[in-house]
Homo-oligomer: 434 residues x 2
């Protein structure tokens, strides 16, 4: 019998506790599949006395995860502490410095320090594995880093934040306002008390940077991501999208263009008949467009203790089996610097919703501003809302053919300056999907 | 620089030619990702003089793939000959006997000889990799064999045959009959001159046996698969499905039940709002239900030279990187015998379409036969078709609550014996999806 793989787990929250329990309960099956037994021999958590429903009698306990990583008698270090700095970063560095492979679920750590950690790992002949860091239990890291290695990727995009997708789904199905929906999501535990990180698009942006690096062989660059959250999505937009044959999703997109690589997180209109439009609730999905394959889509649970533990286990079992793939898919020296494509150069169709004062000449004026910016319109709809007959303002919805972000912004600015608008203009990008 | 991985390719059809071309064109990128260069050093094909658009000046040529496998100076053998017996089987055996890793796209070979080849590979410390054998470019083999190793699978199901899915999609969208659709598919090259292997469900059954083995750690058993093709699907069924909120797909399903594992390929009604219902045309999709993850879905191109070559390349690059996963996910000695769950014990809802003579008492008689077999009905619809007012027969559509296959068959037999039917009864299983 081969010797067991001795695992140190730092962080015994939901995922860590699931992991320790699963290895205890399913150890025999895992040993068969990995070719050697797994054994959690060291753990670290803040509160030693808390009841986690686990038998933790045999493991060595560390109060400090960094000490565990630096000193425990282990073959593999699992970082489930969280946070991009502090203990998580120090512990991962300490483990890699000893040449230990590291498994982490920490997207923030990778978004901020992924390249530095990949370099450290390469120097020490170790690896960092992080399937759980993006889209929970969906094997998108393995797919990009291994299965699609023969392909050139042109775009990777997905629904990477369950909170936002849950909220958009509820707004659509129940006709709730953004505010009502947020309260509900907070009550159900799908949104944090301070929801900014999720609904502002920042969580998705962190995850996107990792996918971008794997898809394009480039260094991770969090600062360059264009981020727009779902806060300004109104019920009217969701209804209008449905009427037009679209659904609204918070998409994270990395796309190769002539001027570089776009990284963008924003609400997007996707065709209602597309596969990604069917992804509802807290489910995540990632699609990859490549030269050889065309497009593939992966969908599944993006969060949850067991789903995340499943991804951590996948990494552990790979390492136990002897699999060694470079942390970011390439030797760090072969990663190319990230070349940013500016958002102003983004090309696509746009949905624009204007609240206009209902008077003679408004339409002509709007149409002229569009034409001045070389924007051709696919449709223009003015609709009085029921019960608003007596109102002096009217919503106007424009759908453009493919144009540039810069042109759309100039046109909207010009229309605003013309003084026809009674409220803030809204713009939602249309993501072209086959 | 590490030494190149010397590859022998037997079979230079669409996939083989794509593979050789890609390795020539993208070799540098592949070398970075795999950590060593790839080099096709030996090839075999029937016709040496055929123009394949490839520069084949430097490779050693073999007329016989078995000789290539047995004698060429290579580190890896790629089998793209096809067929479950003869040269493909002998060549793979010859390569494994030398301890060479083998990459194949050959579903029939695996369905018939997968366990024997896994055993031979294990004895020789080699592996057989076969991502391309199921669902083309979708990484379902890697997902089951590696990414989901921490999970227990309860069901794996999918759309594994592009010909059938194309035809069902066209029948639905264009209102074509099965016969019209088949002619069109043959004209477009989506169906063979003899289409039995595809439309009869046998191609999907071959692929399913491989997924079953990986999902449940069991031996491959092709004989036990219940197979029903799409030949008897009529336009009326597709219309009725749409009215009831379903779509009809040819599904391949392996499912753990109390009495064993069901392996079944048959047309199935799936909820129109489900992700798998959106999979149209020649696209394939596979979903996996597990204990930790809930459900994940993978969708993408199921065939085509480049998509299949992408999967073959993924296997080659894994082997070049040193990845070694047991052929069927477990050491062959640990595979359990396949324990068949009989189709008569299958539980689910059923759609039943009867053509009845339109006379007094028919409904009562049908309802009684259902009740006698303890089948409760969710709905019963009788509809006169437009233009059929003068006809003496009427279609009756029944949707049952969950019941057993045996009960449904008994009820239909009894109704047939009662003499009320003017045509063959039709039955389509409803696949429960979340």
């Amino acid at each position: 019998m081969p010797t067991p793989l001795r695992i140190g787990v730092a962080g015994l929250g939901t995922v860590g506790a699931s992991l320790v329990r699963l290895i205890a309960e399913k150890g025999e099956g895992y040993a068969q599949r990995a070719g050697r037994p797994l054994s959690v021999t060291a753990v670290s958590a803040r509160d030693r006395s808390k009841d986690r429903g686990l038998d933790l009698g045999t493991q060595e306990w560390f109060d400090d995860p960094v000490e565990l990583a630096a000193k425990a008698d282990i073959d593999l270090f699992v970082e489930l502490v969280g946070g991009s700095e502090g203990a998580a970063l120090e512990a991962v560095k300490a483990a890699l410095s000893r040449g230990l492979p590291v498994v982490t679920a920490n997207k923030a750590l990778l978004a901020h320090h992924g390249v530095a950690l990949a370099k450290l790992a390469a120097r020490k002949n170790a690896v960092v594995a992080f399937e759980a860091a993006v889209a929970g239990g969906i094997p998108i890291i393995k797919t990009l880093r291994e299965a699609l290695r023969g392909n050139s990727v042109s775009r990777v995009y997905g629904i990477l934040n369950g909170t936002c997708n849950y909220m958009l789904t509820r707004m659509e199905r129940e006709g709730l306002s953004f505010g009502e929906c947020l309260k509900e999501a907070q009550r159900l535990g799908y949104a944090e008390a301070d929801p900014t990180f999720d609904i502002g698009g920042f969580d998705a942006a962190h995850k996107l940077t990792v996918l971008t690096s794997l898809a394009f062989g480039s260094e991770i660059d969090l600062e360059s991501v264009f981020v727009e959250g779902i806060e300004s999505i109104a019920s009217e937009d969701i209804r209008a999208a449905a009427d037009l044959g679209y659904r609204i999703k918070l998409l994270a997109v990395a796309q190769r263009t002539e001027s570089g690589i776009e990284q963008r997180v924003h609400p997007a209109m996707v065709p209602a008949s597309s596969a990604i439009a069917q992804v509802d609730g807290v489910t995540n999905a990632v699609a990859v467009d490549t030269d050889l394959l065309g497009s593939i889509l992966l969908a599944g649970p993006g969060a949850g203790g067991n789903a995340t533990a499943s991804a951590v286990l996948s990494d552990i079992l790979d390492i136990a089996s002897g699999t060694r793939i470079a942390t970011l898919g390439l030797p760090p020296a072969n990663l190319v610097p990230y070349r940013r494509a500016r958002m102003r150069a983004h090309e696509g169709g746009y949905y624009i919703r204007l609240s206009v004062h209902d008077r003679v000449g408004v339409f002509a004026s709007i149409a002229r501003r569009m034409a001045e910016n070389a924007i051709s319109l696919e449709s223009i709809v003015q609709r009085k809302l029921a019960g608003h007959e007596a109102d002096e303002t009217a919503p106007v919805i424009l759908i453009t053919h493919e144009t540039t972000e810069a042109a759309v912004r100039r046109a909207i600015d010009a229309i605003s300056r013309d003084g026809h608008l009674s409220g803030e203009p809204r713009m939602i990008r249309i993501e072209p999907l086959d």
